[in-house]
């Protein structure tokens, strides 16, 4: 696979520091190549082979000739502010329900081009987590830069739409999103992806959130539209004292999706909640990797992941809780439960605790099972068909995680999407 980097580099030259950063990072990427099973955190996902088999002619998206999207893709009957990205490009933002002077929003491309602004985000280009991170540093040309002022509480949720049309076909799209919340502020946002039918692309994004003292950020990631996309989403969070970070993920739509979340709890009483549903069929492969770092005392983290795997799909959860020596009185919890419903589906779970403090409460657990045939019998003895019984049990199984959603409007939206998805699935389970 040869990416057209030189062409991209020429077209995006700005005669500034970013030019060198791009070249440096592209060289790092070239040396490493796409991640493969040799790397510990990619041992369940051989991205190199996956891309080689499915996106052999991957190119960098360069000329932005078409950024159209369909209005029908916008969420209806749901009051919200919105930011629209099409093929990774910042198209528009509307904050109809908010005090506009409290919110600073910019397309990332303007930040990248402006020397003074770029200084603010330069440090984030030093992160060399893996080759995709380096590739993102080299190829980023747009995204979101959002700052919320101290004490500002959003009235309505923000929806960040990620639309992809035909222009994205066989392209790799790299963008970054920066969101920072001032002290005592609050934002609920929903990330919503939608692609035109049959488009195949690779979306490589990095998000950085900074949540200052007493602030609350709730993120809901919805990936439920069946599409042929390959996605890697890296999220880095800095949580300061008494702040709350909540991330709920519905991981169900794309051919490939890896969500990787690193949350750093940097002040006392900061908390982090990561809950999610992985519901896959056909040949989908999704992975959730979390890394919650307790770096200060009295912090709390909790994770609940429920997965259902059908057909030839596979899912992976790699969850790590890391507790630094000084992070006494840490409360950490992590649980993954999976239902593997076909002989050809698989679920890998790797829960990890790494603890250096001596006064902590940490627990983790992981179960993988098939559906309980006695429960099916019980429901069928009450007149339900096998299909109805299966659906009811799967819905019930997944609902435990859906119950953790604390925004009621978003909860009802996600529940509807989930039920729709369960109803669409053909249940060919491996019993009888």
């Amino acid at each position: 696979m040869i990416l057209n980097f030189d062409e991209f580099q020429k077209a995006n030259q700005i005669n500034g520091e970013l030019d060198d950063i791009r070249i440096k990072n592209y060289n790092i990427f070239q040396k490493k190549g796409f991640p493969s099973k040799k790397e510990e955190s990619w041992k369940y996902t051989d991205l190199k082979t996956l891309l080689y088999n499915n996106l052999n002619k991957l190119e960098i998206l360069n000329n932005k000739k078409n950024s159209q999207y369909h209005d029908k893709w916008l969420l209806k009957n749901f009051q919200h502010n919105q930011i629209i990205l099409a093929n990774g490009e910042f198209i528009s933002s509307t904050f109809s329900f908010e005090a506009k002077d409290k919110i600073k929003i910019k397309p990332l491309r303007t930040v990248l081009k402006d020397k003074k602004n770029f200084e603010k985000i330069k440090e984030f280009f030093d992160d060399q987590k893996n080759s995709l991170t380096s590739l993102n540093h080299a190829l980023v040309n747009d995204g979101i830069f959002l700052e919320i002022e101290d004490d500002y509480l959003f009235n309505k949720p923000l929806v960040i739409y990620n639309f992809f049309n035909k222009t994205s076909e066989s392209k790799i799209i790299n963008n970054k999103c920066f969101i920072s919340l001032g002290k005592n502020s609050k934002l609920n946002f929903l990330e919503y992806n939608k692609a035109e039918d049959g488009i195949k692309y690779f979306n490589n994004t990095i998000h950085h959130y900074s949540i200052q003292k007493n602030a609350t950020l709730k993120k809901f990631s919805i990936n439920n539209n069946l599409d042929n996309s390959y996605n890697y989403n890296l999220t880095n969070v800095k949580s300061y004292s008494n702040s709350i970070f909540e991330n709920f993920l519905l991981s169900s739509g794309s051919s490939f999706l890896k969500n990787e979340i690193h949350c750093n709890l940097l002040g006392s009483y900061a908390s982090c909640f990561i809950n999610g549903l992985i519901l896959l069929n056909n040949e989908q492969h999704h992975e959730l990797q979390t890394n919650v770092n307790h770096r200060y005392e009295h912090c709390k983290s909790s994770q609940l992941i429920k997965s259902v795997l059908l057909d030839k799909s596979s899912g992976t959860y790699q969850g790590k809780i890391y507790v630094e020596k000084k992070a006494q009185k840490t409360d950490g919890y992590q649980l993954s439960k999976a239902l593997v419903l076909s002989e050809n589906s698989a679920f890998n779970s790797k829960p990890e605790l790494e603890i250096y403090a001596d006064e902590v409460k940490c627990s983790h657990g992981s179960t993988t099972a098939n559906i309980d045939q006695n429960s099916i019998f019980y429901l069928m003895s009450r007149g339900l068909s096998k299909k109805q019984a299966n659906k009811m049990l799967i819905e019930g199984f997944l609902s435990e995680a859906a119950e953790t959603i604390t925004d009621l409007n978003i909860k009802s939206l996600i529940s509807k999407l989930l039920i729709k998805k369960i109803n669409e699935i053909k249940f060919e389970t491996n019993e009888d």
Partner: protein
């Protein structure tokens, strides 16, 4: 209503029911008593359609071959079993489950499905009549229920589904007197000339509250003795060990 002829059932080549015969007419209450391992629960499971048994013989239910019907159709046609050990089903709301169950049965019988409001009214009356706390309706199905609550929930399901033939598989086991009263009130309130009951129990105690028309003693997979309700009292005195064998 139900005619069982020469029924045998085995599991993993182990014969549990062997030459079992029973006839239940509409409106009758039959009690089956018997020692542990005599095949009582197997009988209930075979009637309900649980997988895993090799079954021979004939079962006619409302003049139809029951063994050919899938589990859910048996239920939709009015066969109900109150489980000995009702299952805990996480994440499934009791109220939604009951509504789905009732509406599936109604649909199969060509009746209009109940909307949420009609169902709510129905279930409020039923819980009140049975003196069951309405709160269980908003809980997950049987999850964290006490033994008594689970059994009461079975009886509630029975009164909602209004079966033609109800099988109670050791519903009385582990119940205190108050819960036993609720269970028997549930059965007695449903008693009618076209509804039959098959009550499986270890103890005579339940039969103080529900008066059966016939009592059968099941030993080694077949009926060893049949009598009227006094037989249960006799059993209580002499035990199963002294039961003479010989069929009806």
């Amino acid at each position: 209503m139900l005619q069982i002829t020469n029924l045998s059932a085995s599991i993993d080549d182990k014969k549990i029911l062997n030459g079992f015969n029973l006839k239940i007419k509409p409106g009758e209450i039959h009690a089956i008593m018997g020692p542990n391992g005599s095949g009582k629960s197997t009988l209930a499971n075979v009637l309900t359609g649980k997988n895993g048994y090799q079954v021979e013989g004939q079962i006619l239910y409302q003049e139809k071959n029951l063994l050919n019907l899938p589990i859910e159709e048996r239920a939709q046609k009015g066969l109900f079993m109150a489980f000995q050990y009702p299952l805990e089903i996480a994440g499934v709301n009791t109220n939604n489950f009951l509504k789905t169950s009732l509406n599936t049965a109604r649909k199969a019988r060509g009746l209009k499905e109940l909307d949420s409001l009609d169902f709510l009214n129905l279930i409020k009356t039923k819980t009140k009549n049975l003196k069951i706390d309405e709160k269980i309706l908003n809980r997950q199905l049987n999850v964290g229920f006490s033994g008594g609550e689970k059994k009461k929930n079975e009886i509630l399901q029975m009164t909602i589904l209004e079966p033609k033939l109800a099988i109670l598989d050791e519903t009385d086991s582990g119940l205190d007197i108050d819960a036993m009263k609720i269970v028997s009130d549930g059965v007695n309130s449903l008693r009618s000339k076209d509804r039959s009951f098959l009550i499986i129990t270890h103890y005579q105690r339940l039969l103080d509250y529900i008066k059966p028309d016939f009592v059968h003693v099941l030993v080694d997979g077949k009926i060893a003795k049949t009598g009227c309700s006094e037989l249960a009292l006799e059993l209580e005195k002499v035990g199963y060990g002294n039961m003479e064998s010989g069929s009806r």
